[in-house]
């Protein structure tokens, strides 16, 4: 599909979405006085060929806003947090990832309600080793310089004007060659967290690829999953990821006897089973 037709498709999607009061309508027309509110779709991009794709950025605020689009590095810690990594601290894989992603534009000024596509593609070098390479694309509003009015300046005393520069990052993943991963679920248990019981387990991972999917805890005789966690990622920099899920008292009460924990790919990606374990947790 060409960029142009994809752009038309996504624009149409956004138009449909904006017209739908039930679904995205509520999301787009949420009260937003702030300048710089934003919508980004998709929330994750995988590039495994030479052709590019697009990410849609939409100004859902009530004023014109300028956004900066950049590439940043994040690493996942064992506890699942994504922490920023300075470019000067990049390892060879992260440097390669930064070097191969092409994207445009890098700065967009949008009136309220207006979407625009950011085109991106990977240009991996011919001698790039097989593997998974990743950067995080950031979308951030640039605040307009604010006019200080007389009423803002107190005759006496100190006041503070602290403006958040806020934005989102989404992963851009490049898969070079054939990459695989295997994951196992280990040692599920109930532990006491700061604010009550938590389900704790670890995901151990081997291979060159990340995994991404849905984690479901089910029990025979209980219709709905006891725990449902979507969009759970384990990135290649991790051999093992710890997961803690806070439980409501109702959820915790169901943790007796045999339960089944399944980690599956997202339904959109086929829903294939990545890992499962049957365990007694109590």
């Amino acid at each position: 599909m060409s960029f142009k037709s994809l752009h038309k498709l996504t624009n149409r999607l956004l138009t449909i979405a904006a017209a739908s009061a039930v679904t995205l309508g509520a999301l787009v027309s949420a009260p937003a006085q702030a300048q710089g509110d934003l919508l980004v779709a998709p929330t994750r991009v995988i590039l495994d060929g030479s052709r590019g794709t697009e990410v849609i950025l939409s100004n859902i605020g009530s004023e014109e806003a300028t956004y900066r689009i950049g590439l940043e590095l994040r690493r996942m810690l064992e506890n699942g947090r994504l922490v920023p990594v300075e470019r000067t601290d990049a390892n060879s894989s992260e440097e390669a990832a930064l070097g191969m992603i092409r994207y445009a534009p890098r700065r967009i000024t949008l009136p309220p309600g207006q979407p625009q596509a950011v085109r991106l593609a990977a240009r991996p070098g011919a001698d790039l080793p097989d593997g998974e390479y990743r950067v995080h694309m950031s979308f951030k509003a640039i605040p307009r310089p604010r006019e200080v009015t007389a009423s803002d300046t107190p005759a006496e005393g100190v006041s503070i004007q602290l403006i958040p520069i806020y934005g989102v990052t989404i992963p851009i993943i490049v898969r070079q060659g054939r990459v695989e991963a295997q994951v196992a679920i280990n040692q599920p248990s109930i532990v006491q967290g700061e604010s009550g019981p938590e389900l704790a387990f670890s995901l151990s991972r081997v291979g060159d690829s990340s995994t991404y999917g849905v984690l479901e805890v089910t029990k025979e005789g209980v219709e709905e999953p006891i725990v449902l966690l979507r969009g759970l990622a384990v990135y290649p920099e991790l051999d093992e990821r710890q997961v803690r899920v806070r439980l409501t008292p109702e959820q915790a009460a169901n943790f007796n006897g045999q339960i089944r924990i399944e980690y599956r790919e997202m339904p959109e990606a086929g829903g294939g089973l990545i890992a499962a374990v049957d365990s007694f947790v109590g």
Partner: protein, 180 residues
């Protein structure tokens, strides 16, 4: 290429299946660019800026505005007045997903309009210890609910040395919602 448009069961998100990609097997020879998971991710700053109100400063001390909105202004040389407010954000995205929030880990400098490097003592205020109302086991993190919604508030602590000149001190701080 097969194009489908459908809405998520929770009504949160827009999906456009532009192609499927297997996590386990991705082969350069056969696959093209695929965009997976076209949920939308939305970030709104619906709670405005971080506002410590007005402080009359006659000596050093700290003022803390907790993420739940509680103001701690206990030093006798600082008198706090006026309306205070935390910076509030709302996130909309994938239902039941835990999302990292990154706040500044160092300090942020706020400057008086008359700031020059030589007058930094009376024209600069340090703000640090940013805190979030939503936290995971090891830092700011928010879990989107079954409808894909979440909110979080950000507070902070300012340190005054007592020599600050009256006026409005300006500054910015970064708030980043990190999707995995």
């Amino acid at each position: 290429m097969n194009k489908t448009i459908r809405f998520g069961a929770a009504g949160v998100a827009m999906f456009a299946a532009l192609g499927m990609s297997s996590v386990a097997h991705a082969d350069t020879a056969t696959a093209d660019a695929t965009a997976e998971i076209l949920d939308a991710l939305v970030l709104n700053n619906d709670g405005g800026s971080l506002d410590f109100g007005t402080m009359v400063v006659s000596g050093g001390g700290v003022v803390t505005l907790a993420a739940d909105g509680t103001l701690t202004c206990a030093d006798p040389d600082i008198v706090c007045s006026g309306t205070t407010g935390v910076a509030g954000f709302s996130v909309e995205g994938t239902a039941n997903k835990a999302v990292t929030i990154n706040l500044p880990t160092g300090s942020v400098e706020l400057r008086h309009p008359s700031y020059t490097p030589a007058t930094a003592a009376q024209h600069a205020i340090e703000l640090d210890t940013f805190t979030s109302s939503e936290n995971g086991g090891s830092g700011p993190e928010v879990t989107l609910d079954a409808a894909g919604d979440a909110t979080f508030d950000v507070g902070g602590t300012i340190t005054l040395d007592g020599s600050e000149e009256a006026g409005t001190f300006d500054g910015t701080f970064d708030v980043s919602v990190e999707y995995s």
